[in-house]
Symmetry: C3
Subunit: 432 residues, 3 copies
């Protein structure tokens, strides 16, 4: 389906996503706090997100919503009063969820709280300490190497106290109460591919679907990773049973090949839909089996839920060196890649929307296509007509037919339209 959409639209969407990432980049997000709220408010300018606040201390399955963390400033000064590390220059410099501190200490003691990347001496790593009360700074190996012995002033002006976990949710009702879940995480500070690319692509898709006719109900979640997904699942157990398809969106802006990680179910319709779209996309891609490590698919695919939720990315986390470092910046993500990711996602959603099961109303022998003017060229679409007629026995969806015939879903869809118009095909009533 991507082939029918003008190339310029894809480029436009890629540039739009990139601008959104650039706007969100400076904010200091974490799993709670004002950085998350600012992020969600910026998104509300485009899509009518509902913002939920869940109090610290709320029990969510085996977990407890943590205290809220906020930070105003942080630095390390050397004995001459020079800032050798400055949070204002890069919010990755402070380990996320660091407790407040204001002390002097010798370099030898300070080093216990410093994190750098030996293999990439100019990059600043991204570290967190959500569930262990401590503090720390991240810096480049180069700067670390230049620190001389002596006393340093350490200052982190943060607070960690009862507050809320904040997340955004948007529900776009469809004709059916069955749902498609689209989930992205909003807990990382100045990191572009992980997680702003997912946030931007999800926002663009929501915008598009807001004005489109919808078979399914679409539910978008903009949540902090892990604790956010767990919190949402704990508060929405009644909703979970309506989820028919789902995707975790992350890492969609780097130039690497598309990577789809299957749901735990492994052969859910979302898995076959994405696999079909990818195999007909012409894009280099990989399909990975489910494994229990990764992003929020870990929670959606935990055995008690076992939801049909896969993960759509480009290069998987951990396979690109920029991952969780200051190099995951505005130079790393690319409008072209973002546009391509968006187009693919749109095609997947269209496949889900359109993939229904039809019945051949003339199942005994072939209907006479010629008298209806449908048989002009057997090389062209007539093969799609024959395949759809032959396999529409109520046991196969249009996607099943595309897979069996080797045709693209869009060819099968075109044939379906022609046959329905000619009263040779009828959509099956869903089971009550």
């Amino acid at each position: 389906m991507t082939e029918n959409r003008p190339h310029s639209d894809r480029q436009e969407k890629g540039r739009d996503a990139y601008r959104m990432i650039a706007d969100l980049y400076p904010l200091c997000r974490s799993i709670t706090g004002n950085g998350v709220r600012q992020t969600l408010r910026l998104l509300q300018a485009r899509i009518p997100l509902e913002i939920h606040e869940v109090p610290s201390g709320t029990q969510v399955f085996d977990w407890v919503v943590p205290r809220e963390w906020n930070i105003r400033d942080a630095y390390v000064k050397d004995s001459w009063g020079q800032k050798v590390i400055d949070f204002q220059k890069c919010n990755l410099h402070v380990v996320s969820y660091s407790v407040p501190v204001h002390r002097k200490m010798p370099l030898v003691e300070l080093k216990n709280h410093l994190h750098s990347m030996v293999d990439h001496p100019d990059w600043v790593p991204y570290k967190t300490t959500y569930y262990k009360e401590t503090w720390g700074f991240c810096l480049s190996q180069t700067v670390l190497g230049q620190l001389t012995d002596g006393d340093y002033e350490v200052f982190i002006d943060s607070e960690l106290q009862a507050g809320h976990l904040t997340y955004g949710e948007l529900v776009l009702p469809g004709r059916s109460s069955e749902e498609v879940l689209l989930s992205c995480h909003i807990c990382h500070p100045s990191l572009c591919n992980d997680n702003l690319s997912g946030v931007a692509i999800a926002t663009l898709l929501a915008e598009r679907l807001m004005t489109a006719p919808r078979h399914y109900t679409y539910r978008f979640l903009f949540i902090p990773g892990t604790i956010g997904a767990i919190t949402w699942l704990a508060r929405n157990r009644g909703t979970v049973g309506r989820i028919r398809h789902g995707l975790v969106l992350t890492g969609l802006g780097d130039p690497g090949p598309i990577t789809y990680k299957k749901s735990r179910i492994g052969n859910a319709p979302i898995d076959s839909s994405v696999a079909h779209m990818l195999s007909h996309s012409g894009l280099p891609h990989r399909i990975l089996e489910f494994s229990p490590y990764g992003y929020d698919e870990r929670q959606y695919c935990s055995p008690g839920f076992n939801l049909p939720v896969g993960r759509l990315s480009r290069t998987p986390f951990g396979e690109y060196p920029e991952y969780h470092s200051s190099a995951d910046n505005l130079d790393f993500v690319q409008p072209t890649a973002l546009g391509e990711s968006f187009e693919l996602l749109r095609g997947i959603i269209k496949t889900l929307e359109m993939n229904r099961t039809y019945l051949n109303l003339s199942p005994y022998c072939e209907p006479q296509l010629g008298k209806r003017g449908l048989y002009e060229s057997i090389e062209g679409d007539a093969m799609a007509l024959l395949w759809v007629l032959n396999l529409s026995d109520g046991s196969r969806s249009l996607l099943d037919i595309a897979e069996r015939s080797g045709l693209s879903f869009s060819s099968v869809l075109g044939a379906k339209d022609v046959l329905v118009k000619n009263k040779l095909l009828q959509e099956m009533e869903p089971l009550p």
Copy 2:
């Protein structure tokens, strides 16, 4: 099984099929008309075909039996009165189902009604216009190029009027009312591989089965393509449920490798029987998945019927350049290929006939083969004995055992005979 039959018998059958093709070659067949009747009458000299006549206008599912077409003569004369195209020389010259015409017209107008083959300038193509009232001539590209400007006399002495669709049917009752369907088409004029090879092989098989003991009931259909199969199915809905196995026979005389196209079911016993025979035949061959285009398997395998009917051919239609042209003639088909096709078909039929399920009557431990003199050589047939005993638990047919063990069906059959004779094996009663 082919290996046990004398080579000379295969040669003899090949020559016999070839002579039959030569006799039928000159007749001008179409989907209706006297050419079909003459063809069936010639076959009646060998097998007691019943000839059915179905009136024009009869509704058969989504189709209507067309008017009957007959032709006496046709030509195109140039302005000097010379016949440049002459139906009497080759019946492919007239587009089948051409309406009568007798006019003079300039070359420029005539050319709208002329068909030739650019890639094969000396061959005359085969064209039809069953469901569109028009007329036309087919000729070689060479002759077409020699036509000079001027007026031409066009004459087609045909008639298209209410009559009948004619087909032949032969039922050979077996011990069981379950049926094997063998179908070939008789609607093509002077074309040897497509369709006379199928007609000849089917006739030879019918002849052979007439005098053989039969487990199954055999039903041979000699029908016009598409409309004939549809007509037969519409008139025999009660019979259809008894068809357990079936083959469409066509294109069995060219020198290419055997090609089997599976039934829509894909793993019906006919599919595994043919695959087994081919893999043990030593013949080069291909097995194709079902697709909804082709010969009359399109109708038998339409979703409302979904019969276990595959297609047996050598080179598939459209993959040999002689297809649907005057080059599909008596030089193209070969007695050797015909004999080989017949032998293969005979082996398939024998497999179907013999493939039943047996029960090991001594299923607890091995029976003592030695005391029955059955254990002479473990390298030889004793392995077949052991396999048949081990797997005859009521869930596997002899063919299943052959496939699982890697032995040929004939080895398994031989072991079955020995074990039945020694009261170690018994045929399972079919389910009531």
Copy 3:
């Protein structure tokens, strides 16, 4: 699991098995008789085997327990009175179950009763004549070639009369009445790999299990091949239904790669357990599909029983030239190979013992591993924790989880222990 056990233990077990083989080697065993009794009495010094005596003439399914065969002496003397063949030097010299004979005959007549190996002129073959009353001698091709014309005195001091078939059985009760069957044959005379290696390894395993906690009940059979297995099955039809896993042990002392032959079921837990252990063992190995020829798996896997019994060997019988000859001697089997085989078998048994199904007690989202101190290193065992939690939904055993995750069974077992200790996992109650 093999990796955790000290290498020295494996070596010790290998040497112990080798000494046991050396002790048993001189005895002249057959399918009945005093050689079998002596063998079993020697084993009783280590394990409390129960010895069963089944009278000749007892009907066992399609077979009858044969007369008992015993032999005191045998030789062939040339016309100078020199012993050219002497049973006292090698008990393979007499065809097992030879009837008594004491005659003079010319070489030409004697040769009808002589067996040698053309391809291995210095080896003495092993032959039997259990069910055909005759007699014979086996000798090397070299000695045979040196025999000159003249009369020879032939003497076999054997008896074949009503007696018993003797076998040994050891049952080690476990917490469960479900059984693991371990079967080896004891009917071959001075042959080391076939069958003494199996006898020795089975004895060592029984010794080990005698003092270990046991989930399953273990049943060891030391039986004559074929007729012994048939006799045991005929006398123990009530027991058979409790056998959950089983192995035939034979050919475990040669230096070739491990070969596992699957049960007839093909995907029984014993099949997947052995396959998993082998794939994680680092040992060269092969896995063969079931076939109905071989050792006593033929009887256990006959269709009436269809027990989950595979066969564990190194080089399969018939694929090593020493098979059934005097070269299958104390030089052919090796302590190292025996030790390795024992260790592998011990690992398989441990897998069977430990392979149960658990339930994640916190199945909704991941439990918070961090607060339990279980999340230190995601690269290490935390992946095993995540896999066990994610897949312990009651439908998968620990072995299934190991196979799905690609982890070793021992990693999965370690994770299970940690999770059970942390009350995150609980063993499923077996179905009543």
